[in-house]
């Protein structure tokens, strides 16, 4: 992480370095956003915006060496904000019209069940699970990205796993 400090620092003033920085960090940010939102197109927008936000505030960052962590946090915040807005919009839309009953989709195996179950989780729980099992972050690091404590992350992940197990009854833990 420390070696990125120089890149980030010079990137603010140099176009080539800025491009390098984008190519280096944006893909990871897009993947993280895609896994949290489940929407690759939306993930591109969120990651791009989070990158601009992080670089735009670089001069004011207290710890420039933690650029990747700032970017990750910006992505997670943007994702959870998106779901919060969508929840409000959905609630408003429900007031306007009654949505059609969901159509039962055919089973596509355990992984599809898992994907469906993941998409049903609350946004922050899903983000916590992605940060722990995709990004391989510690509870402390995941807490920094989510803006909460390690204990809160542990609790969120535990609740998420419990929900997933309930939704996938065939899952047999070893």
């Amino acid at each position: 992480m420390n070696q990125s400090t120089g890149i980030v620092r010079s990137a603010v003033n140099d176009r080539a370095d800025l491009d390098d920085l984008y190519v280096r960090y944006a893909p990871g940010a897009v993947r993280l956003a895609a896994l949290i939102t489940g929407n690759p197109d939306l993930a591109q927008d969120i990651a791009h915006d989070a990158f601009l936000r992080s670089v735009g505030r670089f001069r004011h960052l207290r710890q420039p060496e933690a650029f990747e962590a700032y970017l990750r946090r910006a992505v997670v915040n943007a994702c959870t904000s998106h779901f919060r807005r969508r929840k409000v919009e959905a609630a408003y839309a429900r007031g306007l019209m009654r949505s059609p009953a969901p159509v039962d989709e055919p089973e596509h195996g355990r992984r599809d069940e898992l994907r469906n179950a993941l998409s049903a989780l609350p946004a922050r729980q899903r983000a916590a699970v992605v940060l722990r099992y995709y990004a391989d972050l510690s509870e402390q690091q995941a807490g920094e990205a989510l803006g909460c404590s390690a204990a809160a992350v542990r609790s969120m992940v535990a609740r998420a796993m419990e929900s997933l197990r309930e939704r996938i009854p065939r899952s047999e833990d070893t």
Partner: protein, 192 residues
Amino acid sequence: MNDLERDLREVFHEDAQRVPAPASAPEGLRRSVRRRQAVFGGAVALAGLAIVAGIAAAATSLLSLQSGPEPAVQGPTTTGTMNGITISYPEGWHLIDPDTVGLNGSPTMGESTLPRIVLALSPTEAPETFGCPGRARDGESAPLLMTVQEEPLALNGSASQAWPAELQPLTNVSRPQPLSSGPGGNWRTASM
């Protein structure tokens, strides 16, 4: 690691592989970053200015409180003498003898050891100022009243100041406030 955790990792990595990652920086990235920096810098500067302005306003208001209120308008004054005290007060106000309106108690209390009021000032005449509430103009009592004590009211504190005393503003609105509003005038004690 249990099955669920292993499945989660596999699903995440499988899905991540399918996410199209940007191979190059988009056009206008530099411009967007500059714009963001300008906006953020501007916001920080504005916030800083707001904080400085707030501190300056608070300091100014504190300093003005310390210096005390000044008459809004320097109006015409008149001078009167009562019980040996000569005092300048706003024209149109009334110098009232406390003994005649009963501020010092009944005549039978003439030998009382309580501090004696020497004079009083009011924007209304004595009957309206000290009469029953129903007799006051528009059903209200006089808005302003100043009294001068012959002896201090207390042994210490602000009420213990001996005559001649500097007139000072009172912060409590229920107490007399000679200079804050009304016809105005420069209140000044002249002699005893």
